[in-house]
Symmetry: C2
Subunit: 665 residues, 2 copies
C-alpha cells in the first residue's frame, strides 16, 4: 500500500492480528468481486495524480479553494464517467465507491455533488419523458450545471412554509417566479453560488387564483455563454461555513422572473395551458428519493466513522505516552483501557451502521416494489425507520468521530490529521435532510400510533412487533445473553413509549387538546424514539453479522462476534438507567456486564489495527498525517507543516510592517 518503511509498532500490530484481513474486507464490501471492482476504480483514478494538491487546501483563501474545487470536480467527473459506464451503469451515480473516492479530491464536497446527487435524480424522478429527453443528457454530459433549491433563508424543515411563489399566467403560458421577502430567498443551495446555470426550484404553485402547495420547476438562472445571472435573478454565494467550504452553497432570489409552462416538472402534477391544475401520479412515490438520501447518509456516516477510527487506532499504536508502571518505557496509548474504551466502540459502530444501511436499502427496495404495485401500507414504517436511523446514525457518528479526535490529543486538532474535516462534514448531516429532533419526533408519531394499535390487539408491522409481545406479557427474568439484552432494549422502548402515551392521556384528562399534550410530552418522545432506534440497531447488527459470517473462517466469526457483543454491552452500560427502570436487571448483572465489557476490550486489543486495516481505506482517500498505513506520523506532520505558504518565507512581511521595535536588549 505504501513504499515507505512501516513504523515498527504498526508492523508488530499487524503480525499480532489473528484473522485474515482481506477476508473481512470482502465481507464489509459485500463480496470479493465488489472489493476488486472498487480497488480497480480507485487505482485507475488515483494513478492519474489528479487529486493532488501542492499546498494544503485549508491554507488557501475561500475563493482559491472554490476555484481549486471546480478544477478538480471536472477532472474527477471526467475520470469516473468511464468507470461508471463500464462498471455500474447510470443509476449508481451515488454508489459508495464513487463517494469514497471523491474524498481523495475534495476536503469536503464538490460543487457538483448535488448536480449528480439531486439535480439529475430529480429530472429522472419528476420529469415527464419529454422533459427528460430535453434535460437529462445535457445534465449528465455536464453541458448544463444544476442545483436543487428548496430551503429558504427563513424556512427549512417546514416545507409548507416556503414563500417563493410560482404564479401561472395563462396569457403568456408562463410561470412567474417571485421572492416576496428576504426570508423567501433560497439559501444553502449546494453548487448554486457560482457554478450552476440551471436550478430545480421548489415554490408555492398558484393558478386560477388558488394555491396548490409546493411544486418543482426547472429554471435557467445564468446565461450559458457569459455565465452572467439572467435579468430578474439574484444569485450569489452564502459565505464561509464550519465545513463544506468548497460546496459553493448559494442564495437565489427572483423578481417576477418568467419561465415557460413546461418548465414545471410534470410527472406527478400538471398545469394545463388554460391554467387548470391536474394531480396525476401518487406523489408518495417521491418518498423514494428521500429514503434513498437517508440510506446514503447512514452509509456515509459509517464510512466516515471508519475513516476516523482508522486514523485514531493507527495513531494510538504509534503514539507513546506516560509510564503504565513507574520506570517502565512509555506505553503505546492503545494499551490504555480508557483509549480502548474510546476507540473500539467506533470500529464496531462503523460496522453496525454499514450493515444497517445495507439492510435498510434491501428493506426499502422490497417495499418500493410493493409500492409500485400500489401497496403503500409499509410507507409509514419505512418513513419512521429511515427517520430515526438517519437521526441516530448521524448523531452517533458525529459524537464518535469527535471522540476519535479527542483520543488523538493535540494532534487531532491539526487539519492534517483530517479529523476536523471529517467531523465538519458528518455533523452537518445531523441537521440537513431533516433535523435530529424533528425526525425523531416523526418516528415517535408512528410509535405512539403503533403502541395504540398493539394495545387494541392489532398486530403491528415487523420493526415494532415487540409492542405486541411486551404488551401481552411483562418479562420478569433478566437474561444476559445477546438475544436477552436485545429484548431488554425492546422492553425499554416499549416502556418509554407507553410512558409517553400515559402522559399524553393524563394531560388530555385535564382538558388539554391532543396537540398541546403532544407538544408538552416531546422531551420524553424524543428519547422514546431514540430507544426504539437503539433496539433496531442492536437487533439488525446482531442478525446481519451472524448472517454475513455464517460461512466465514472461525477467527473472523470470533472477532466479529466480539465486536457485536462489545456494541450490545456498551449500550447496555450506557443505558443502565433505562434498564434499571424498565427491566429486572440487578446490581450484580451490571457488574457482570462491566466485567464482560472489560474482557472484550482486552480480546479485541491485539486485532485492533487489523480491524481498521480491513476497512481498506487508501492513504489518498484518508489523507491523514496521523492515520497513514505506514505510521510515519511525525514525519508527515512536519512535511505537511513545511508545505504551508507561511513557511515559504523565513520572515513574514508583518515583521517590517508592524512588529519591529527598537530594543535596548
Amino acid at each position: 500500500m505504501s513504499v515507505n518503511k512501516i513504523n515498527e509498532d504498526l508492523a508488530k500490530e499487524r503480525r499480532k492480528c489473528n484473522f485474515d484481513i482481506q477476508e473481512l474486507t470482502y465481507i464489509i464490501d459485500g463480496g470479493k468481486h465488489k472489493t476488486e471492482q472498487r480497488r480497480l476504480i480507485e487505482e485507475n483514478v488515483l494513478k492519474t495524480g489528479a487529486h493532488k494538491d501542492l499546498v494544503p487546501d485549508e491554507c488557501l483563501s475561500l475563493k482559491e479553494r472554490y476555484e481549486n474545487a471546480v478544477k478538480k470536480s471536472l477532472a474527477y467527473s471526467d475520470l469516473v464517467k468511464n468507470e461508471i459506464a463500464a462498471f455500474t451503469g447510470i443509476e449508481s451515480y451515488g454508489t459508495p465507491i464513487l463517494r469514497r473516492l471523491a474524498d481523495a479530491f475534495f476536503v469536503d464536497i464538490s460543487p457538483m455533488l448535488l448536480h449528480f446527487g439531486m439535480f439529475v435524480p430529480t429530472i429522472i424522478g419528476q420529469c415527464t419523458p419529454e422533459q427528460q429527453a430535453k434535460w437529462l443528457l445535457p445534465a449528465i454530459n455536464l453541458e448544463i450545471y444544476g442545483a436543487y433549491a428548496q430551503t429558504e433563508l427563513g424556512h427549512g424543515t417546514f416545507i409548507r412554509g416556503l414563500e417563493t411563489t410560482a404564479t401561472y399566467d395563462p396569457s403568456t403560458e408562463e410561470f412567474i417566479l417571485h421572492s416576496p421577502t428576504l426570508t423567501a430567498y433560497k439559501w444553502w443551495i449546494g453548487g448554486l453560488g457560482k457554478t450552476a446555470n440551471h436550478c430545480i426550484v421548489v415554490a408555492q404553485l398558484y393558478t386560477q387564483g388558488k394555491c396548490y402547495g409546493v411544486h418543482t420547476f426547472i429554471v435557467q438562472i445564468r446565461d450559458l455563454e457569459t455565465h452572467e445571472p439572467l435579468p430578474g435573478v439574484k444569485v450569489g454565494e452564502i459565505g464561509p461555513k464550519l465545513g463544506s467550504n468548497t460546496a459553493d452553497n448559494g442564495f437565489l432570489g427572483f423578481n417576477n422572473y418568467r419561465i415557460p409552462r413546461d418548465h414545471m416538472l410534470m410527472k406527478n402534477a400538471q398545469v394545463l395551458k388554460d391554467g387548470t391544475y391536474k394531480k396525476l401520479a401518487n406523489a408518495k412515490l417521491t418518498y423514494g428519493t428521500m429514503v434513498f438520501v437517508r440510506v446514503t447518509l447512514v452509509s456515509d456516516s459509517a464510512f466516515n466513522l471508519a475513516k476516523a477510527a482508522t486514523i485514531a487506532v493507527r495513531y494510538s499504536a504509534v503514539r507513546r505516552q506516560s509510564e503504565a508502571k513507574p520506570g517502565a518505557p512509555e506505553s503505546q496509548v492503545l494499551d490504555y483501557p480508557t483509549q480502548q474504551h474510546k476507540l473500539f466502540i467506533c470500529i464496531s459502530t462503523a460496522l453496525a451502521m454499514q450493515l444497517t444501511a445495507n439492510w435498510l436499502w434491501v428493506t426499502f427496495s422490497k417495499y418500493l416494489n410493493e409500492m409500485r404495485k400500489g401497496n403503500v401500507d409499509n410507507l409509514p414504517e419505512l418513513h419512521a425507520l429511515s427517520s430515526c436511523l438517519k437521526s441516530v446514525s448521524t448523531s452517533d457518528a458525529s459524537f464518535l468521530i469527535e471522540q476519535c479526535r479527542f483520543a488523538c490529543g493535540g494532534h487531532g486538532y491539526m487539519t492534517s490529521s483530517r479529523l476536523p474535516q471529517i467531523y465538519g462534514f458528518v455533523v452537518a448531516t445531523r441537521t440537513y435532510e431533516g433535523d435530529y429532533t424533528v425526525l425523531l419526533l416523526q418516528t415517535a408519531r408512528f410509535l405512539v400510533k403503533a403502541w395504540e394499535l398493539a394495545e387494541s390487539g392489532v398486530d403491528v408491522s415487523p420493526t415494532v412487533s415487540y409492542l405486541n409481545r411486551v404488551n401481552k406479557h411483562k418479562e420478569l427474568v433478566w437474561d444476559n445473553s445477546m438475544e436477552g439484552l436485545i429484548r431488554s432494549f425492546e422492553v425499554v422502548a416499549e416502556g418509554k413509549i407507553s410512558h409517553c402515551v400515559k402522559n399524553i392521556r393524563e394531560k388530555m384528562k385535564t382538558g388539554m387538546c391532543y396537540d398541546e399534550a403532544w407538544l408538552l410530552t416531546t422531551n420524553q418522545l424524543v428519547p422514546a424514539a431514540e430507544a426504539h432506534c437503539r433496539a433496531v440497531l442492536l437487533k439488525v447488527y446482531h442478525q446481519e453479522a451472524k448472517r454475513l459470517t455464517a460461512n466465514s473462517s472461525v477467527n473472523i466469526q470470533k472477532v466479529i462476534d466480539q465486536l457485536v457483543q462489545l456494541y450490545i454491552i456498551f449500550w447496555s452500560l450506557e443505558k443502565t438507567g433505562d434498564l434499571l427502570r424498565y427491566t429486572p436487571i440487578s446490581e450484580k448483572d451490571i457488574d457482570e456486564l462491566q466485567n464482560r465489557y472489560d474482557d472484550l476490550l482486552a480480546s479485541i486489543r491485539p486485532n485492533a489495527v487489523g480491524l481498521v486495516d480491513a476497512f481498506d481505506i487508501r492513504d489518498e482517500i484518508l489523507q491523514s498525517t496521523l492515520g497513514a498505513y505506514d505510521g510515519r506520523v511525525y514525519e508527515r506532520l512536519m512535511e505537511e507543516a513545511l508545505k504551508t505558504p507561511l513557511n515559504a518565507e523565513s520572515v513574514n512581511s508583518s515583521f517590517h510592517k508592524y512588529l519591529k521595535r527598537e530594543s535596548k536588549l
Copy 2:
C-alpha cells in the same frame, strides 16, 4: 445598544421579562462597579473601530489571516495598555475584561496571547530579581515577543518524557540546547511560528554528567534587527488547525545551540559556574500558575457558553418554524419544549461555571497564602479540584456550545453565526493544559486516597468530607429538596469511588500489582471522578447563588433559584441510572422530577431573552449574525454573505477556465 430597529419578537420578549436585567448583570460581573469599569473599557476601545474587518476573516488565506491578526494584536495591545495601567495594574493582564474584549478583535486568539499569558508570567514567577530586571520591562513594552515552549511533537501530557536537552558546558559557561530527534521538536507553541523572537524553553537539564529533569530557559531565537532565525535554530509554523488559526502555533528545533548560563531561569534551581546543581525554593509554588490557568479556563468556558446561549436564545425568539397546532401561524422556535430543553440548561450552566470559577479562585487564593507560609497540606485537594473542574467545565461547555449550534439549525453552521468558532476555541481547551481523561484520573488518585483515609476514620478535606459522612451511615430516605438532591450526588460519588476501591482490591487479591489493578479500573475511575465533580458543581452553584442573591430583589432571587433548580434536576434526570443504583430513588420520584423540570422550562421561558441580555455581551464582541441585540438575523446573514470576495464578481474566473462547454440546449 444598537441603532437599528429591534426585531418585534425580541422587543416583545424583553417586555415580558419580569426582573431587572441590569441588576443581574451586576451580580454576574461581581458588582455594579465592575460592570461600569468593564463597560467603560469596552466603550473606549471599541469606539476606535480598530477591531473591524472589511472582509470576513474566514474568507482570507491563512497567511492573510495571520498578518491581519498581527496588525490587530499591536493595535489592541496599544489600546488596552493604558486601560490596564489606569484600572487594574499589571497583575490583571489576564482579567476576564480584557479576554472578553479581545473577542472583538480576533476570530480565535491573538499571536500575542501567550506572550502576555505565559511568557510574561513565567518571567515574573521563575526569574531571579536580576533576570526580571533584564527581561520583564522589554517584554511588557513589546520590545521583545516571547513564547512558551514545552510540548514536543512526540510528547504532551507526560512532561518527564520531554527530549530536548540543555547540557551545561562549564568551559564556556553556556548551556547547549539540542533536539536529538524529530519527536523532540517543540510543537504547538502559540505565537512562536512567525512572531516570537524569544522563547521560554522547557528542557532536560544535564550538568556534571547527570540529568536533573526538566527546567526552564529563556532563549533568543530570532535576530532582533532582521527577524531571521539564528544559526542553530529551526523554527516555523505548524499549519492549519480546527480553530485558533491566528494563534501562530509554531515548531522549534535546536542544533547544539548555545545560550549563556544565566539564561536558565534561576528562582527555584541554579547551576553554578562550575556546573554544580542547586535546588532552591519549593518548586510546588509553581503549581500556582497551573491552577491559575485552570481557573481561567473554567471562566473562559463560562463566558463562551454565555456567548453561545445568547446567540441561540435570541435567534430562537426570532426564528419561526412549523405549526404547533394545524393551521396556526408558525411558532417561535423558543416556544418548543425541545428547544427550551436544549437552551435553558446552557444559560444555567454558564452561570454555574462562572460562579464556580470565582469560588475556585477565592479558594485558591486562600490556599496560596497558606502555602506561602509553608503549609502545603491543601495542595493535593486544590490539584484534584482544579483538575476535575477544568475537565468537566471544558467538556460540558464544548458539548453545550455545540448543542446551541444544533439548536440554530442550518444557520448555526455558518461561521457568521460565530458558533463554529466558539466551539473550535473551547473544544481545544478540553485537550490542552491537561487532557480530559488524564486530569480526571489525577482527581481519581486523590479520591481513592481520601476514601481510604475516611474508611480508616480520618477526617478528610472539605470538598470530599462527604466521604466521612456516607462512610458512616448509608442514607435510606429519598429527599427531593435541592439539598437532598445534592447529597444524593455525593452518595453517588461515594458509591462509585467505593466500587473502584473494591475492584482494585479484588484484582490485587488475584496477585495483580497495584498499578496493574489501577490501570484495569481506569474506565470506572474516570466516571467516579466525574461524579465527584458533579457533586461539587451542584453544591457550589447552589451555595454561591444563594449567597450572591441574598440581598437581591425578589424576582431576581426567583429566577436565579429557578436556574439553580433547573441545573440540579437536569443532572438528576441525566444521571437517573446512578441514582437508581446508589440511592433509594423510586420510579415515582423520577416522574416527579420530570414534572418539576417541565414546569421549570415553562417558568423560565418568559425570562429567557432577559437572562441572556443580562450576560451583557456587546454585539462587537459577540460578532454573530444570529445573536445580535437587534435580532436582524436575516438581514445580517445576507449582509455578511455579500462581503465575501466570491461575491465581489458576478462571474468567477473558473467559468472561463474550466466550466464553459458547448451546449445544444
